[in-house]
């Protein structure tokens, strides 16, 4: 196993000199000691030099060709098999030059230098050899690093695709939690537009029958996205469904959902919600609001749009003891009126440059499309909004729900 230069005790390169003539060693030593920073390790015997190489590597080898117990070629061949990345330089007399040239490929010589050598030239050759060695070492490390990074990315891709499968399942489950269609109830007709975000968002809507020919309509927006939103939506659905057929009003329902969200999820999930209880016989709306956008009452006969105020705390924030009284506003619908509920994904649609769709644009569009009802109206609102948004995909779920009241319909 070859070591890179940086693995040595110090960063100073080690130059190995092998020559059977002490004079040559002395003169090379004094040249390199005087004019370079290299550390020098010199041997008169190639056999002893090989023993050293078996223990610890050097950074470059300069070897003589003609030596008594082992010639330079044999020595460098052995050195190459021990440390293939260490550049090898051979010093040759003029008579041996042909042999040296032939050996360039045989022992993978970096360079040969003729004796008597030129000091500057030899220094330059050694410097270039060392530079090449360190380039190779750096390249090796980079290739290893790239390999590791690629493997990490592959693993992450695998995990991501597993997670994506789970997310798709969660999305499917979430879809099943939403009612397929919203039936009409006597003169009250319901329509909804639900535009899920790319990632799983937290919008939820549902309706329930209550005792006394009443109907509860809930539109909620849970904090968080992804799996967490899917799970809390399931919890919300469960909390709401417990009131099916019960003789309760908006206050009890919101209090009940608040407790389940607050106690049921330790990690803290909150929901903004608007709740309308439709008294089909009177007819009347009992409207409560827990931090959701104010519902808009569309008085079509007088062409007015009224905001329905009812203040309340987000669900899940406070425990049952601290949960403030729920304010309930009662509205008597006139024939032709519409009641529009929405989540904040509508007005907070990003238009770019830090601007949002906002209440103004919504009301402007509503005024223009006021004569439309049900799905037609929601479609008009959606296309107005979608035409202005900055991104093709919404960052948040967008849900609009409208309840239209017409006297024409007879109670079934």
């Amino acid at each position: 196993m070859d070591q890179s230069p940086a693995d040595n005790k110090s960063d100073t390169p080690v130059v190995m000199i092998v020559d059977d003539e002490p004079m040559v060693i002395r003169s090379l030593e004094s040249l390199l000691q005087l004019e370079t920073e290299y550390r020098i390790s010199s041997y008169q015997s190639p056999v002893a030099a090989l023993d050293r190489l078996k223990e610890t590597p050097v950074d470059i080898i300069v070897s003589d060709f003609m030596m008594p117990d082992m010639n330079g070629l044999e020595f460098l061949r052995e050195a190459r098999s021990l440390h293939p990345d260490v550049p090898r330089i051979m010093l040759t007399g003029y008579a041996d030059k042909e042999n040296a040239i032939q050996a360039i490929n045989e022992v993978g010589l970096f360079h040969y230098v003729e004796k008597p050598w030129d000091n500057d030239y030899l220094k330059m050759v050694i410097r270039n050899g060392l530079e090449q060695r360190s380039l190779r070492a750096v390249l090796k490390r980079r290739i290893r690093e790239l390999d590791l990074t690629t493997r990490r990315a592959d693993r992450l891709h695998e995990e991501a695709s597993l997670l994506q499968d789970e997310l798709d399942q969660a999305r499917g489950l979430l879809h099943e939690l939403l009612p397929g269609s919203l039936p009409s109830h006597g003169p009250f007709e319901l329509a909804v537009h639900f535009q899920p975000a790319m990632q799983i968002g937290g919008d939820f809507y549902d309706t329930l029958p209550l005792a006394g020919n009443r109907r509860a309509v809930l539109l909620a927006d849970l904090t968080g996205h992804g799996i967490k939103a899917a799970l809390s939506t399931a919890l919300l659905k469960f909390a709401f469904s417990r009131f099916s057929g019960k003789d309760v009003g908006p206050t009890r329902i919101l209090e009940g959902i608040n407790s389940v969200l607050h106690d049921g999820l330790p990690s803290g999930v909150f929901a903004a919600a608007a709740l309308v209880v439709i008294d089909i016989d009177s007819p009347r709306y009992h409207i409560a609001n827990a931090g959701a956008p104010h519902p808009l009452l569309l008085r079509r006969s007088s062409r007015k749009i009224e905001r329905v105020f009812a203040e309340g705390l987000l669900l899940g924030v406070a425990g049952a003891d601290e949960f403030p009284d729920v304010e309930v506003t009662v509205v008597e619908p006139r024939p032709g009126d519409g009641l529009l509920l929405m989540t904040d994904g509508v007005t907070e649609t990003e238009l770019g440059d830090d601007r949002h769709y906002g209440d103004g644009s919504l009301q402007e569009c509503l005024r223009a499309a006021l004569d439309k009802t049900g799905e037609d109206l929601l479609r008009a609102l959606e296309s107005h909004r979608a035409a202005q948004r900055a991104n093709q995909n919404d960052g948040d779920d967008v849900t609009m729900l409208i309840i239209d009241y017409s006297q024409d319909r007879s109670t079934p």
């Binding site: 293939p84 990345d85 030059k97 040239i101 360039i104 993978g108 010589l109 970096f110 360079h111 040969y112 030129d118 500057d120 030239y121 330059m124 050759v125 270039n128 530079e131 090449q132 380039l135 190779r136 750096v138 390249l139 090796k140 980079r142 290739i143 690093e145 790239l146 990074t149 690629t150 990490r152 990315a153 992450l156 891709h157 995990e159 991501a160 997670l163 994506q164 997310l167 990632q199 996205h225 992804g226 799996i227």
Partner: protein, 165 residues
């Protein structure tokens, strides 16, 4: 180790040679065309060579020292500005050797070759220079690949965090 992944092929590449003597260029070109796979581009004028180098991704440059319009050191200093990673080799007569040695550090020469040179030496020097250049190129590629891989990894990570947390 020969032929393994981190030892790039070094018997090909674009070599630029500048010398004001046509004879030198002709003999170098025919020798190198015979002995190597290099694509050899020769120039009598340093200025024309610079024009070529500006527009071509070359691998190695070798220049004579004494030339009338621009000396070899000034020429190689210009090449360094254009393509700092291309190894630069100078051919020098004995009289100019001292200047060439000084230029090793001043303009970052890869190597000098004394005239008259031995063709065997020349082949080794060119081979080593080419190999150095190929190593540098490969290193730069790897660093780019690594940066890209890290970028992808970070993007993927962000995506996952955004979806699930």
């Amino acid at each position: 180790m020969t032929g393994s992944d981190n030892q790039p092929k070094h018997d090909t590449g674009i070599l630029v040679i500048v010398d004001d003597e046509e004879m030198v260029l002709t003999s170098l070109k025919s020798f190198l065309t015979l002995e190597t796979e290099y694509e050899v581009k020769t120039f009598l004028s340093a200025k024309e060579a610079l024009e070529f180098i500006r527009s071509t991704d070359i691998d190695l440059v070798m220049s004579d020292y004494l030339m009338p319009e621009m000396d070899g050191i000034s020429f190689l200093a210009e090449v360094r500005k254009l393509r700092p990673e291309v190894p630069r080799i100078i051919l020098t007569g004995y009289a100019d050797k001292e200047n060439a040695i000084k230029a090793i550090n001043d303009v970052g020469l890869y190597q000098y070759i004394e005239k008259p040179w031995s063709n065997d030496d020349l082949l080794i020097i060119l081979r080593n220079g080419m190999e150095k250049q190929k190593l540098m190129k490969k290193l730069r590629e790897k660093i780019e690949e690594i940066n890209k891989a890290y970028g992808d990894l970070e993007g993927l990570h962000k995506e996952i965090v955004k979806t699930f947390v």
